[in-house]
């Protein structure tokens, strides 16, 4: 049975590239309004999982369920938005246009436009073409696009990649604020310290398998019998993966 807060359930997602299994029966749940961290080292399958869930990469198996019913392709598109890492969309366009396009083409949330721009510090960058932005600036512009999307669940791949410490903290605060307003966030993060700062719950991914799911306390309880040195997320991750 699903708890009343569960909005979506990812079940038995599998993806193979020839003989290589990138994802193997990955299952977890996504609760409404939470910030869920998908934690794992590079190559653990985080991006592959997001791409499969976002519908831009075919999965070999698995389903996204609401209740016990798999979402149709149309329902998935209306529910989940995947924000990839390391992309430079519409490179010659200024940030202002990208935001307008997000609202115009995707039917984005125009009512939070000002807040998103202000919280992510994009005001001075609005007239800059996207290709001229630094890595951190580009990441903030991408996050603005993601936050403005109309879908209730935002899956952001490495949202803190390229950000300095101050920016990481500011972005984490912004993400928490939007989650507090009811938006569900699923963040793939390879820096465990960043994840601990922002996420409510965690899914630990290693070698394409989900090795644990829960809050810090729940994971700590799981990790204790396996010899976790402390209730620190890094130690928990090492013990469970």
């Amino acid at each position: 049975m699903l708890s009343r807060f569960d909005v979506l359930r990812v079940t038995t997602f599998t993806k193979r590239y020839g003989n290589l299994t990138a994802l193997s029966d990955v299952s977890f749940s996504i609760r409404q309004g939470e910030v869920l961290g998908l934690i794992g080292p590079n190559g653990s399958g985080k991006t592959t999982l997001f791409e499969c869930l976002g519908g831009v990469l075919p999965a070999d198996g698995g389903a996204l369920l609401r209740g016990d019913r798999p979402l149709t392709s149309g329902e998935r598109v209306a529910s989940v938005f995947y924000l990839p890492d390391s992309i430079v969309p519409w490179p010659t366009e200024p940030v202002r246009w990208a935001i307008d396009f997000t609202i115009g083409f995707f039917g984005g949330r125009s009512e939070i436009r000002g807040e998103v721009v202000q919280r992510l510090g994009l005001e001075p960058l609005l007239d800059s073409p996207i290709w001229t932005l630094s890595k951190g600036q580009r990441k903030r512009a991408l996050l603005a696009i993601g936050l403005l999307m109309p879908q209730p669940v935002l899956m952001a791949d490495e949202p803190f990649e390229g950000l300095d410490l101050r920016q990481t903290r500011e972005v984490a605060l912004a993400l928490r604020a939007f989650a507090g307003a009811g938006r569900t966030m699923v963040l793939s993060i390879h820096q465990i310290s960043d994840a601990a700062r922002v996420c409510d719950r965690f899914v630990l991914l290693s070698g394409g398998r989900a090795c644990g799911e829960g809050t810090l306390e729940e994971l700590s309880a799981l990790a204790a019998p396996r010899g976790a040195a402390s209730s620190n997320l890094e130690d928990i991750f090492l013990a469970l993966t």
């Binding site: 519908g55 209306a78 995947y82 990839p84 519409w90 490179p91 010659t92 200024p94 396009f101 995707f106």
Partner: protein, 441 residues
Amino acid sequence: MRSPRSAFRWLVNKEWRELVASRSWWVLLVAMGPLVGVSFISAVRTYGEASGLNGTSAGVGEAFSPLIGIWAPTFSACELAAAFLLPFVAIRLVSGDRQSGALKLELQHPMPAFARVGAKALVLAAGWFIAFAAPLAAILLWKSYGGSVYPPELATVAMGHVLNAGLTIALAAAMASLTEHPSTAAILTLGVTVGTWIINFIAAVNGGVWERAAGYTPTAMVAEFQHGLVRLDVTLVALTLIAAGLTFAAIWMRLGMTVRRRAYESIAVGALAAAAIFACAFVTASWDTSESRSNSFSEPEEDALRQIRLPLRIEAHLAPEDPRRFDLEHRAIVKLRRVMPKVQVDYVSATSIGLFEQTSAHYGEIWYDLGGKKVMSRSTTADGVLETIYSLAGISPPIEKDDVFRGHPLAVPPKGAATVFYGIWPAAIVAGLFFARRRRV
């Protein structure tokens, strides 16, 4: 989500901005002026000299048609641009989203893939129409010289080049969608273009089925339109290929589908297109829009030929590379097929060049069989063919009317054309580029 109509408008706007931002399109625009200019200036000069300019004997060009003398060479610049420049513009527009990662964002909108490709194709067509301003300038110059313009034949030439551009866009879009990298798409697109040239070459050597297939290659299609001939089968085949190419592009744009499913869908589209092309090959309707009726016999002759109800079969013992066969086909049979769609023409030869068949007793013979009555002739001219058919059918040759095409000689130099195409045109494009860049930021 926004209404599909509003979203589509946003997408078209985005594609337009991408086109304006792409250097390849500006290069195409800049190149179009000089390309059209070289062809137009040379054509006007030749036309003028044949009409009596600079002391050449006047009267030679009296049967000159602007369609053949001016528009075919001038518009041939568009064929060059469509083969070597337009594919890069199309590939840039289709591959750009994949390269930048924008496709992964845009694919998460529920818009059908065909609408996405349609938006790109619409914008590319608009970009091509803007490039068409160069031949349009040539038309205006020609008018300013006092040259004759016959709109139906001009529209036919333009239509041929629009269809050719459509084929290029569809092919390039399909290749760009299929491949990971734009350079691979460019190689494949040019490979297909070269492949069609090879088909034309094989057809010239071997004839038969190859000759029939070569009739549907872009080069052959453009050549017919440049002669003012609109063949419905060729037009339908071109439209089918354009639709198939764009559908193929839409199929491979859906990154979330398995490769196997996309491959099956592509095979199904290919099979449907092949069936449609096969069906189109049986369509015989055609229209001669040339002022000189260069693709038709005279009206009295056509009326006389229409009286013949019996099935006509022609067996020509001529090799594919024999110039007499070319004459027979292009000066007589093409016109005959337009009046008598059911005429059956068979070419018989043991070799491709026919050089060593000359000693054979039957080589060069053209046998006509009308309802069992047979006659042989060796003439490959239109008059000779008609005479044979009339005698076989027992019809007296019709009396020619006086309203024969006399031509539009024009002995003028291409005044001001160099300034327009080599000076004003590039300057206007560079100014346009500067203005577009300033507006963007």
